[in-house]
Amino acid sequence: MSDGTPTKKAPYVVPIGPIHPALKEPVQFLFEMEGEVVKKADFAPGQTHRGIEWMGMHRNPVQIVHLTDRICGICGVTHSLAFARAVEQIVDIEVPARADYIRVIIAELERIQSHLLWAGVAAHELGFDTLFYLAWRVREESMDVIEYITGNRINYGLVQVGGVRRDIVPDQHPTIKKCLDGYRDLLGKMLNLFLNDTTISIRCKDTGLLTFEKALELSCVGPTARASGVVKDVRVDYPYSAYGDLDISPILPSAYGGGINGDVYDRIVVRLLEVAQSVEIIETCLKEMPDGPILWESKLPKLLSACKKAHGEAVGRHEAPRGECLHYVAMDGHEAPAMWKVKASSYSNLHSWIPMLEGEQLADVPIIVASIDPCLSCTDRVAVLRGVKRDLMTKEDLHRLSVEKTRRIQGC
């Protein structure tokens, strides 16, 4: 192939997945290879589609909150918080201030455990298993605190429409503070291990580049966008819950002293620094948490009847560990919502895989794929089923359906 003439064999097509040791979740990749270089990349998600939105449209908001917990096991509070916020806007519920602070505390604890989880997975993808084990051992401390507060390690079930279901009492503060102090001491070590290590620098610098323009073009969110220099953080841009009372700013890789390249290394920097930011946020919240109730209405039948009477639509947003998560809910005076749409953060980020992967070596694929922290169980939303055959809808098909529907409504 050195003379550039196409041979019979090239380009090779290498399928990876849906079950593959380098992937933690089912997704299928197709790579067109020329030698070791990826010429073209494509991916097909949809293996973990469970039809959650459809199920939700047959349940009432209190039941849906527990369904939203199980959209994704890592972002246990993200989806329930975004959904609860959407319903609260429709029903016109004012969440007690104390509940807002508790929501922020648990959301930030989740960010800590999710980012450490990711750091471990990234180290594992590089073949640096010692660091993987270190990151996950450290992560267990935050899991302990989450379990201490909510009673569960995963799928916390803490958020309720109109507040939270469990309080954080002063007796619990010392345990939480001990964990936070542990992270504060450890952060320097983690930064040193991840960012000054030759192995990680060689593999991650200038790998999986996503330029500022591309990140804007593809509407990337969260740490993936921030690592490319896009200043974007729902907590700052559209403050909600208690975030409006807090002094936070989006973290860019330049905060660590270097420039902004938009490579895998920058994504590591952003995530590790966000762990430090979350520690500070939790500490402030514990200090400033006001007294008062934690639920707008503790009697479920009353809450449900208020939801049943409500009409309207709203969007609930939350900055998940992976970026903006958005829930659109419409209610029309029935028990179940008339429409529920989930836009998970990974959905916005998946498309950045293609510019990142093209031109890279096959060996760099696992770390690049992992670098956006993909969460496919959040993302697999749209699948059209007819019998057992699955139809893939192209843009033209959707457009045609849309035109047909307009005609149908007009009755012509």
Binding site: K24, T48, H49, R50, W54, E140, R153, I154, S377, R390
Partner: protein, 144 residues
Amino acid sequence: MTLSPSFKRSLWVFHFNAGSCNGCDIEIVATITPRYDPERFGVRLVGSPKHADVLLVTGPVTKKMAPRLRRVYEQMPSPKVVICIGTCGQSGGVFYDSYNLDGPVDDVIPVDVYVPGCAPRPEAIIYGVVTALTKLERIERGEE
């Protein structure tokens, strides 16, 4: 333990995600990390079903993953044990009325050990693997 020398201290586990919410998968990975460290007993995750003695299945088995689950199960050498992790693989759990499920897991492949919980704790997963060991012993002795 009355297992043959090849099984003793070397139970290899393959993890299959059949549409899970990630909760059980993360707990499985948390299980193999230093806090719990089952590698002391030779239990480790492997990358290929052809190397595995135990299959850990998470998730309610979506329509797209069902044929793959069957294929992975067939690729495993005998004697083998299947552990179903998480409530949704056992009954559908919170996803019971979904239109896109072929599960629960035991409708697709035979299951030997059930570990309930949403998500089960790492201790429960280790207990499930230990239960699978005793089942393998019984298979070895020809009792099952």
